[in-house]
Structure formats: structure tokens, C-alpha cells
């Protein structure tokens, strides 16, 4: 119900659905990892509930928004929420970048005998010389080759950067009220996102099948696949968000002035883009 000018819903039934969904999903995933055959099923059921919750929750918010219940103050709260959510995502990636930097700057050189690691090297890992990329002194996962940066990863960089341009062109079209251009630019952005994902998928298959580079390839494989993998998951999520928002554009949900849903997705897409630039530089090039 409306509290003065600030909209506060009277009740919220979706959160408890989401909590139950997450609960089933987490219990399922833990059982799955422990080799319990019921695990995958519980995970599936929980995921379905969470997806159901997401649709229901967003549908409710969209209805309220279209119903004109949101004031500019509500709009600002949503903006704040999205900004800080993206900041939390940045910090999540920071943990994995931190692991990469620590391994390259400290852990691996110390194993190779640098600094205070002389005895570590001599007694535990004699003969190990620090180098990067590495799968460690025990050569976990067997020999592997890396993916050259100025090959498909460069192409992927260009694709994502281009998608940042197309979504901005879409935003301009939205602000000028040109819906056809808006929808075309949005679908091009989605197409670029999907193209990026396909190339990433191809690269993963290539790494596993031809290069011997796997998640088990020591610290290099760990950081490579966890960083690019979490980024890939975020691109998948971002692409789904783009598709939803494009459909909403086609339904005419947004006006030239009032389109925070669009902007939130655009911010998210730019965030995914920036993370990739970090990945390209620190994982592939350097």
C-alpha cells in the first residue's frame, strides 16, 4: 500500500518462496556433492522454485511499475540497490583476482625458492623452478598448453566491447523514443552476447580436448577456469536479462524518461564487460 508518496507493498509472498527454493537447492547440491543420488533431483526442484520465484517477483514489480505506483524516490532506491549489488559482485571477482595475483606474485615464486621460500624449495619441492603458467611442483593434471591471448580471446574482447556500444546505441534510441531502432540494437547486443558465449564454449572444449588444460591443471587451471567460468555465468545471466528487457522494450514498457529496468541491465552488462577486460589483461595477455 502507498505510504504517503513512497510505495510499500502490504505483503510479500515471493521471498518465502525464494527462501524455500534456495533451501532445497542448497541441500540438494550438498547431497549431490556427497554422492547421494537424491541430490541432483533436489537441486533441480530447488532451481525450478527459485526460477519460478524470480519470474513471479519481477512480474509483480513490473505490474506495480506499469501501474504507476513508483515515485521518483522508489526509483532512486532501486538505483541504489542495483549500484550496491554490482559493487558486491565486483568484490566477489576481486577475491578470485586476488587469488590469481597472490599465486603469481608470491605462492609460486616461494615454491621455487625465492625470498623466504628457500628451504621450502630445497626440502619439499627440490628442483621446482617458478614459472607461469604452472600446474605446480607436482605437475597436477599433466602437461597443458595455454590459450593464446591474441587469438579468439582478442576477438571475444572486441565482441564484448562492441556489445557495450550497441547497448548504448539502444539506450540513445530509447531516449529518443525510436522503438524500432531500440529493439534492433538490443537484439544485436544479445546476438553479440551469445556469440561471445559460443566462442567461450568452443574455447573450453578446445582446452579440455586438445590443450590438456583443465580445472585440475594446478593453480593455472584453477584460476583460469574459475575466473573465466564465473565471468561466463555472469554473461549468461546478463544475456537472459537482456532478452527479458528487450521483450519489455517490444511490449512498450519503457518511456523515454522512465526506464530504470533498462538502465539496470545496461549497468550490469557494462560491469560484465569491464570484468572481461580485467580477465583479458591479467589472465590471457600478461
Amino acid at each position: 500500500m502507498a505510504q504517503g508518496s513512497y510505495y510499500v507493498p502490504a505483503t510479500a509472498k515471493w521471498p518465502i518462496v525464494g527462501s524455500v527454493g534456495l533451501f532445497i537447492m542448497m541441500i540438494g547440491a550438498a547431497n549431490w556433492l556427497n554422492g547421494n543420488p537424491i541430490g541432483p533431483w533436489l537441486t533441480l526442484i530447488g532451481s525450478v522454485v527459485v526460477i519460478f520465484m524470480t519470474f513471479g517477483w519481477f512480474a509483480e514489480v513490473i505490474r506495480e511499475s506499469e501501474g504507476g505506483l513508483y515515485s521518483s524516490a522508489v526509483d532512486t532506491s532501486f538505483r541504489q540497490g542495483m549500484i550496491w549489488f554490482i559493487f558486491s559482485e565486483v568484490m566477489f571477482f576481486a577475491a578470485f583476482f586476488g587469488a590469481l595475483f597472490y599465486a603469481r606474485m608470491f605462492a609460486v615464486p616461494w615454491l621455487g625458492g625465492e625470498g623466504t621460500g628457500a628451504m621450502t624449495n630445497e626440502l619439499l619441492w627440490p628442483g621446482f623452478e617458478a614459472h607461469w603458467p604452472t600446474h605446480g611442483p607436482a605437475e597436477l593434471g599433466g602437461d597443458f598448453q595455454t590459450i593464446p591471448a591474441f587469438d579468439l580471446p582478442l576477438l571475444n574482447t572486441l565482441i564484448l566491447l562492441t556489445s557495450g556500444v550497441t547497448i548504448t546505441l539502444a539506450h540513445w534510441a530509447l531516449k529518443r523514443g525510436q522503438r524500432t531502432a531500440l529493439v534492433l540494437w538490443m537484439w544485436s547486443t544479445i546476438a553479440l552476447g551469445l556469440l561471445f558465449l559460443s566462442i567461450q564454449f568452443y574455447e573450453y572444449v578446445h582446452a579440455y580436448r586438445d590443450l590438456g588444460l583443465t580445472l585440475g591443471s594446478g593453480i593455472y587451471g584453477s584460476t583460469f577456469f574459475m575466473l573465466t567460468g564465473f565471468h561466463g555465468l555472469h554473461v549468461i545471466l546478463g544475456t537472459i536479462m537482456l532478452i527479458v528487457i528487450t521483450l519489455r522494450c517490444m511490449f512498450g514498457h519503457f518511456t523515454a524518461k522512465n526506464h530504470f529496468g533498462f538502465e539496470a541491465v545496461a549497468w550490469y552488462w557494462h560491469f560484465v564487460d569491464v570484468v572481461w577486460l580485467g580477465l583479458f589483461i591479467f589472465v590471457y595477455v600478461i
Binding site: P15, I16, M91
Partner: protein, 535 residues
């Protein structure tokens, strides 16, 4: 029919009974839920602590086997940190932030509901590990590899429970930041905000910054155990110490997450019962921000003995010691606030004063621990246990209790039983010192933490400590009784409740109506300010 298409009147579709609490979007309801949840967790975590103290009452293995003892130390910490202290502060924030800044509710009420309702499920998963054949996690709450990776089936459950707690904390923190930045009443400028609001704003920022880092750390643990990664495996080029760095990058801001709102509460209470404005309001704000900033660059003082380059140890030692400066500013300001005030000593004030004295003890032992060569001796000893329990129990928990007594009349509309409140304070204060003070000596004499047995020369102090533990623990049942009694009835509370109280929360009736500040109040210096001008 969706509520999107129509405006409802307040009283039409208000669900009743339990369901009301499940679907509520009201900040007061959700605040109450958080606080009750936290109290339940406080009792569960306390029961675990009593198992530890019972085992340590006498040397030798007495009651439980060593593995179960380690499960208790691990679970006690996880339950108290993530289940008791953090939700209590979030509950206080839910109740008080909108009331103190003149907002109709939290900025994102639906998400507010979700932040809370994830927690009971997360703790169901966490506590369920106690009943698994391989038992609960026993590696300590820090989950250091490689030990934590060698646990039983509970491992994956604990990791996912921590993920859920993190999701809940991040959403709660985003909500608080959005509320404070966006929902303030006209005239409530940033430097007119009560200090509780300031400390929570900064705490929420810390939460958003570091909870994802914890998520990253435990995710790496998970993939190291189940998916063959080598983050913490030297054979693959990783390093178990890497985990400690990432964990404490989260963990040190986390300890300030558990103390900054306590500073805020105490900064509300001391001026009220000194009948003066807070001394040095602006310096309090800057000190809080400084502490928050420093919390990001001191993490490695938790791991001095792990083997780090000397330069790193020096940096982390000096950075840690610098924290004593803004903290000292705060202690000074609290004392200066009381200076020549017309002081009275109601229960909230007693707890706040207990906080100032005993938190300072914990702070000073913290400075001792910051000294690298000294820490080589103290590390992982009972001295550390004594230190962080002074900070967390006589610090955070005492401040939470002070806040509960302070605002309870506003929540329930009744005064609590002052006589029982004072008994609760003195009982707790005496026994908590009997409980924790001897642990300093035990630690300095070399007794290690997290070990169920000890050399016989430690017997006396351990017995004293255990007696203190049981007396303090059972004394908290009185706290539950006082709250229950106050909720049931008592002398009606006025709107202002306390003679010296200032701020918007005291302008609404007691109990605070279900909806407050539908029309925002206009704030000027006379109402809410804690400005340190002479009065």
C-alpha cells in the same frame, strides 16, 4: 488480484497469525523477527559454549570426545557471529533506522523480508550438520585448509549455509545503505544523522564489500575439495596461506561489522543519560570512517605466525596499532560526554558504561596482540580467546543489550522492570569477568585454544572460568524473562521515554504505531542533532 492495480487501505488484507510474520514488509515486524531469531541463536550458541566450559572444568577428557569438542568451538563461533550478533544489529537497524531518519519504512521492503527469511533456512542447514553421522564441522569457524577439507559430509552443507548467510547479509546491507541515503526526512542532512545511523551506514558498506569475498573464499574451498582445483594446494602451485589472506580480508572488516553499530548504540545512550549532547559528534563520524578504512589493511595480523615476509608483518603491525587512535577518540568522546553531565544510571546506561570500560580492556589486549614478537607468544592461546570475548561479549553483546533496554519501551509501550534490569546488568558484569578475565592468565601461561585437555597447572583458572561461564550463561534467562514481562505489560511508557532523550524516534508514541512517518517530519537542529555545540 494483484496489489499492483489497486491501492489498499491499511487494514484490508492484513494477514493474521503466523502467516503475517512470513509475508510482512513492515520494518518493525522484520526488526522484531531478527531480534527474536538472534535471541534464540544466542541461547543455542551459549549452550555450545557451556559444553566447552563444562569439558574444560577439569583437566583430562571429561565429558565429550575431542572431535565433538572441536565441533562445539566451530559451531559456537559460527552461530554466535552469523546467527546472534549480526542479526541482532540488523534487527536494531530495521527497527530504528526508519524511526531515526523519519522514513516510512525501509527502502526495499520486499527484499527486507527476504533478507530475514533466508536466515532460518541457512541455520537449519548449519545446525543439521550436528546430526550427521560424521558430525558438524570441527575445523574452527575460520575453516582453514587443509584441515577443513578433511572434514566429513557436513563440509558442503556448511559452505552452502555460509553462502545463504552471505546472501542475506548483502541484501540486508544494501537495504540499509539505500534507506539511509535515500529515505531521510527533509532537513535530516548527513551531519544531522544520529550516530547509530552513521555507524550502520559505514557497517553496511563494509558488509557489501567483504561478504562476497567470504563467498569467494569458501567457494574456492568447495572447488578444491570437490572439483580438483589447487587454490590451497602447494602441490598444484597454490598455497594454504592464500586462504588465510582471503578469509581475513573478509574477517577483519567483519569484526568491525560486529562492533561499529555497538559504538553507535552507546553513542545514543550515553548522551541521553548524561543529559548532554554527544561530545565531538563530527569526530565520532570521522573516527568511525577511519576505523572502517583501516579495517581493510590490517587483516594479516591474524596470521603473524604463519610465515610472512618481515616487511609485511611490520606493515600490518603498525597499521593495526593505528586503529587505536580513532578508537581512542571514541572512548575520549564518550567520557567527555559524561563530564559534568547530570547522570543517572538506568539499565541501558549501566550496560553502556560496562561497554566503555570492558570494551577498552578488550581493545588494549588487542594492541598487545598487534605487536608481532608478542603475538608469536600469544597466538592461538587463550589470551586471544579472552581478547575477542571482551570485545564481542562485553563489547557487542553488552551494547546490544543496552540498545534493547533503551528502545524496549518504544517497541512495547511498557517500561521494563528496572530492578530486574539492574540485577541482570550486575549479574552479567560480575560473572562475565569471572568467565573471561582468567583466560588472559591462561593464555599468557601458554594454554592453547581449541584443545579439550590441558596441563594440570591450568586447572584453577579453568575452573573459575567455567563457573563464571555457567553463571553468566544461566543469568541470560533473566534477560529473556525481562523482555517477556515487558512485552506482556508494565508501566506505560511515554513517547519520549527517557528524560534526556533526543531524536525522531522519541517523537512518535510508545509503542511506535505500525506505520510511522507516512508524512515525513521536518528536521532542524532542535530535534535530532547531536551537534557538539555547548548547551
Amino acid at each position: 488480484m494483484s496489489e499492483a492495480t489497486t491501492h489498499h487501505d491499511d487494514h484490508h488484507d492484513h494477514p493474521k497469525g503466523l502467516w503475517r510474520w512470513v509475508v510482512t514488509t513492515n520494518h518493525k515486524d522484520i526488526g522484531t523477527l531478527y531480534l527474536l531469531f538472534s535471541l534464540v541463536m544466542f541461547l543455542i550458541g551459549g549452550a555450545m559454549a557451556l559444553v566447552i566450559r563444562a569439558e574444560l572444568f577439569a583437566p583430562g577428557l571429561q565429558l565429550v570426545n575431542p572431535d565433538f569438542f572441536n565441533q562445539m568451538t566451530t559451531m559456537h563461533a559460527l552461530v554466535m557471529i552469523f546467527g546472534a550478533v549480526m542479526p541482532a544489529f540488523v534487527g536494531l537497524a530495521n527497527w530504528m533506522v526508519p524511526l531515526m531518519i523519519g522514513a516510512p519504512d525501509m527502502a526495499l521492503p520486499r527484499m527486507n523480508n527476504w533478507s530475514f527469511w533466508i536466515l532460518p533456512f541457512a541455520f537449519t542447514i548449519l545446525l543439521s550438520t550436528l546430526f550427521m553421522p560424521t558430525g558438524a564441522p570441527a575445523s574452527g569457524w575460520t575453516l582453514y585448509p587443509p584441515l577443513s577439507l578433511q572434514g566429513g559430509n557436513s563440509f558442503a552443507f556448511v559452505i552452502f549455509a555460509i553462502h545463504l548467510m552471505g546472501i542475506s547479509s548483502i541484501m540486508g546491507a544494501i537495504n540499509i545503505v539505500a534507506t539511509i541515503l535515500n529515505m531521510r526526512a527533509p532537513g535530516m542532512t548527513l551531519l544531522r544523522m544520529p550516530l547509530f545511523i552513521w555507524t550502520w551506514l559505514i557497517t553496511a558498506f563494509l558488509l557489501i564489500a567483504v561478504m562476497p569475498v567470504l563467498a569467494g573464499a569458501v567457494t574456492m574451498l568447495l572447488t578444491d575439495r570437490f572439483f580438483g582445483t589447487s587454490f590451497f594446494n602447494a602441490a598444484g602451485g597454490g598455497d594454504p596461506v592464500l586462504y588465510q589472506h582471503i578469509f581475513w580480508f573478509f574477517g577483519h572488516p567483519e569484526v568491525y561489522i560486529m562492533i561499529l553499530p555497538a559504538f553507535g548504540i552507546v553513542s545514543e545512550i550515553i548522551p541521553t543519560f548524561s543529559r548532554k549532547r554527544l561530545f565531538g559528534y563530527t569526530s565520532m563520524v570521522y573516527a568511525t570512517a577511519s576505523i572502517a578504512f583501516l579495517s581493510f589493511i590490517v587483516w594479516a595480523h591474524h596470521m603473524f605466525t604463519v610465515g610472512m615476509p618481515l616487511g609485511a608483518m611490520l606493515f600490518f603491525m603498525y597499521a593495526t596499532m593505528v586503529i587505536a587512535v580513532p578508537t581512542g577518540v571514541k572512548i575520549f568522546n564518550w567520557i567527555a560526554t559524561m563530564w559534568r553531565g547530570s547522570m543517572t544510571f538506568e539499565t541501558p546506561m549501566l550496560f553502556a558504561l560496562g561497554f566503555v570500560v570492558m570494551f577498552t580492556i578488550g581493545g588494549l589486549s588487542g594492541v598487545m596482540l598487534a605487536i608481532v614478537p608478542a603475538d608469536f607468544q600469544y597466538h592461538d592461546s587463550y589470551f586471544v580467546v579472552a581478547h575477542f570475548h571482551y570485545v564481542l561479549v562485553t563489547g557487542s553483546v553488552f551494547a546490544i543489550m543496552a540498545g534493547v533496554y533503551y528502545w524496549l519501551p518504544k517497541w512495547t509501550g511498557h517500561m521494563y522492570d528496572e530492578r530486574l534490569g539492574k540485577i541482570h546488568f550486575w549479574w552479567s558484569t560480575v560473572w562475565v569477568n569471572v568467565l573471561f578475565f582468567p583466560q588472559h592468565y591462561l593464555g599468557l601461561a601458554g594454554m592453547p585454544r581449541r584443545i579439550p585437555d590441558y596441563a594440570v597447572q591450568f586447572t584453577e583458572f579453568n575452573m573459575i572460568s567455567s563457573i563464571g561461564g555457567f553463571m553468566f550463561g544461566f543469568g541470560q534467562l533473566l534477560f529473556c524473562y525481562i523482555i517477556w514481562k515487558c512485552a506482556r505489560g508494565g508501566e506505560p511508557a511515554s513517547a519520549r521515554v527517557w528524560e534526556g532523550s533526543r531524536g525522531l524516534e522519541w517523537t512518535v508514541p510508545s509503542p511506535a504505531p505500525h506505520h510511522t512517518f507516512d508524512t515525513p517530519p521536518v528536521v532542524d537542529d532542535s530535534v535530532a542533532v547531536h551537534k557538539d555545540e555547548l548547551t
